[in-house]
């Protein structure tokens, strides 16, 4: 039995402890969020150069849509992210299942190869892809291949490993006998795949898809090297314009777009949480 003092002491320690924890989290959040807050503030700043606060305005949000270069870059970013994520997720899942079925030695080798794009310096990956596309172009007689297609292929290329890395652990977790059970119950390997395996690794697939999308949405270095002359994604647009800060007021438009993206992401997260909470409540009641 603890004395009253000891109980009080423990309570104080706990309170101080949670106070510290809270402060710590708050500090980290501040560190991460401060640049974002500045971005959002600047997107409403009438002073286009951002050197001072010149008043509140929605001007940049409007002008953003009128800037063809920016809009094209945004369309490229979004479309490439969506398409490459879908393709990479499907292929990555299948590849992961394939790798999972290999014997230990081959498995290790494939995983090693799989991890190379993830860990390799982006500059090196970008240049490698550039070389491959260039060489391929020369071989088929059309040297100047770089464009939307090469950008898409590049994004699929670096996204697949992330999907594989998300799905493989899940494949390990599921019961090895599940597959055999499915076959015993009359499934063909194809339908076993569809009806049994995939649903049980779904969380891994979704995580992989999310990861692939994030990597693709924000990509700069690799895109820069393989996108060619005409198209840019949003990061390339920023890079091109960060040096030209002289004449055109492009920054606030970039901030406006980014603020919209941040808000959509936050909104999506909150909505997801509400739905998940509701589901849990329903589960609890049932």
């Amino acid at each position: 039995m603890m004395s009253l003092n000891q109980v009080k002491k423990e309570k104080v320690v706990k309170k101080v402890g949670s106070g510290l924890k809270f402060t710590f989290l708050a500090l980290v959040m501040f560190l991460m969020y401060f640049p974002i807050l500045i971005i959002i503030i600047q997107s409403f700043n009438a002073n286009g150069q951002g050197t001072d606060f010149g008043g509140f305005t929605f001007r940049w949000y409007g002008e953003m849509f009128k800037d063809t270069n920016l809009m094209n870059a945004i369309v490229v970013t979004i479309s490439i992210s969506i398409i490459s994520t879908i393709v990479a997720t499907i292929l990555g899942t299948l590849f992961a299942i394939g790798i999972n079925s290999l014997n230990s030695k081959r498995r290790k080798r494939m995983i090693l190869i799989n991890n190379v794009p993830v860990l390799n310096a982006e500059v090196v990956t970008g240049v490698s892809l550039f070389f491959v596309f260039k060489t391929f172009g020369i071989l088929i007689g059309n040297e100047y291949l770089l464009g939307y297609t090469t950008l898409l292929i590049a994004h699929i290329f670096f996204s697949i490993p992330y999907v594989v890395l998300s799905v493989l652990p899940k494949l390990n977790e599921i019961d090895k006998n599940l597959y055999d059970a499915a076959l015993d119950l009359g499934c063909t390997p194809a339908s076993a795949l569809r009806k049994v395996i995939i649903p049980s690794i779904m969380t891994g697939i979704l995580t992989g898809a999310m990861l692939a999308f994030t990597m693709s949405f924000d990509d700069f270095v690799i895109s820069y090297m393989v996108a060619g002359e005409e198209i840019k994604n949003f990061s390339m647009w920023i890079y091109a314009n960060q040096k030209l800060s002289g004449r055109s007021l492009v920054w606030p438009k970039g901030y406006a777009y980014n603020s919209i993206v941040t808000l959509i992401t936050l909104f999506a997260l909150i909505v997801y949480n509400i739905i998940a909470a509701k589901k849990n409540k329903a589960k609890g009641k049932a």
Binding site: Q49, N72, Y144, Y148, L244, S245, G246
Partner: protein, 361 residues
């Protein structure tokens, strides 16, 4: 599943609508903000084509892009010495002057024409001057005494830490050719020297001052924003910033000093690489910019000095513009300067090594 397909096809259509363009395309490799978009649009309308402009940040990367075929260009706008290197490397087409009715040697500023004639043999067959200028020292007079400092010492502000007062920050151009040139100018050496000793001394000079910023066209922004007090720039950088400040009603406390006695004079040229696919259209583009009205519109937007005499004179006649272009740093014709020559790949790499070593300290 159905929903998915319809969203997907919608996105696909959107992309195709935005991205597709059936017009013929002309690919231009140029510098950042170096062509007036309105003039480009006028060209696009007149010829029913689309002009795709790629921006490079250095002559070396332009050369590299053409040689490796990183991009397919119909027109490139390199500087004098890079044109020399491209000709040596057999990368350029000889211009067909039948397709350039607007071209005539007499149009160009006599000083510039003299430089062209003294330049490497045959250069006039490959490149048509686009803009010309010098190196300059841009500074912000917000801190007291900076103006006198720069005007009295010229190139020495980059190489003599003793004369720089406490708190005054200096920036250097991140291009090995130009940084080394500034050092050579300070040391009174030939800008086209091949002597090892000259480069050793240049390296020693560059190591003296610890530069606050190494940049390219971001230097002018830093000086204008007071994040840098002094920087090495190209002459037009200053006017770019000036025009921007005027357009946006900003306070102007910055200025530029151009050493009239020892400097680098350069001229950029429009050239056509051998890998160009739209040679006739490329000539039409060059011709378009040789037209005085177009050239005037272009020059009024870009901060650099136009090579065509009548265009420059027209600018002097316009009151508003004249106020700006009578600045001593605008017109390169009166400057005692040397034009860069291509010194070979070895020296180019040597200059890069110098810069790398200088940055490490």
């Amino acid at each position: 599943m159905k929903k998915f397909i319809s969203i997907f096809s919608f996105i696909l259509m959107f992309i195709l609508a935005v991205g597709c363009d059936s017009r013929e395309k002309l690919y231009v490799l140029s510098w950042g903000e170096y062509i007036n978009p309105d003039v480009v649009e006028a060209f696009e309308e007149e010829f029913g084509v689309r002009v795709v402009i790629t921006e490079a940040t250095s002559n070396e990367s332009m050369h590299n892009r053409i040689q490796t075929g990183a991009g397919q260009y119909d027109i490139v706008i390199p500087s004098d010495y890079m044109m020399e290197r491209m000709v040596e490397d057999d990368l350029l087409l000889e211009l067909d002057f039948d397709l350039l009715p607007n071209y005539s040697k007499e149009k160009f500023d006599p000083h510039l024409q003299e430089l062209r004639e003294e330049y490497f043999e045959g250069n006039e067959k490959y490149g048509v001057p686009y803009f010309w200028g010098t190196l300059g020292i841009m500074y912000n007079d917000a801190k007291p005494g900076v103006k006198e400092l720069v005007e009295t010492n010229s190139w020495a502000v980059f190489f003599e830490p003793e004369i720089i007062p406490e708190g005054v920050t200096v920036g250097m151009y991140d291009s090995s050719r130009d940084a080394v040139a500034a050092a050579l100018l300070y040391l009174d050496r030939d800008l086209n020297t091949k002597a090892d000793k000259d480069y050793e001394d240049a390296e020693a000079a560059l190591k003296k001052v610890k530069y606050t910023q190494w940049g390219t066209d971001d230097l002018k922004e830093s000086v204008a924003a007071k994040n840098l007090d002094i920087a090495l720039v190209y002459s037009g950088d200053f006017f770019d910033s000036l025009y921007f400040a005027i357009d946006n009603d900003l306070e102007v406390t910055f200025d530029m000093f151009v050493d009239q006695e020892k400097n680098n004079v350069w001229f950029d040229v429009m050239v056509i690489p051998k890998t160009a696919t739209k040679v006739e259209l490329a000539h039409a583009f060059i011709n378009f910019f040789l037209d005085e009205d177009n050239a005037l519109e272009n020059a009024s937007y870009i901060g650099y000095c136009p090579p065509i005499t009548s265009v420059y004179e027209a600018m002097l006649e316009d009151e508003e513009i004249a106020e700006l272009v009578t600045h001593p740093g605008y017109y390169p014709g009166g400057v005692e300067g040397t034009v860069y020559r291509h010194l070979g790949v070895n020296i180019a790499q040597k200059m890069d090594s110098i810069l790398s070593r200088v940055k490490i300290g």
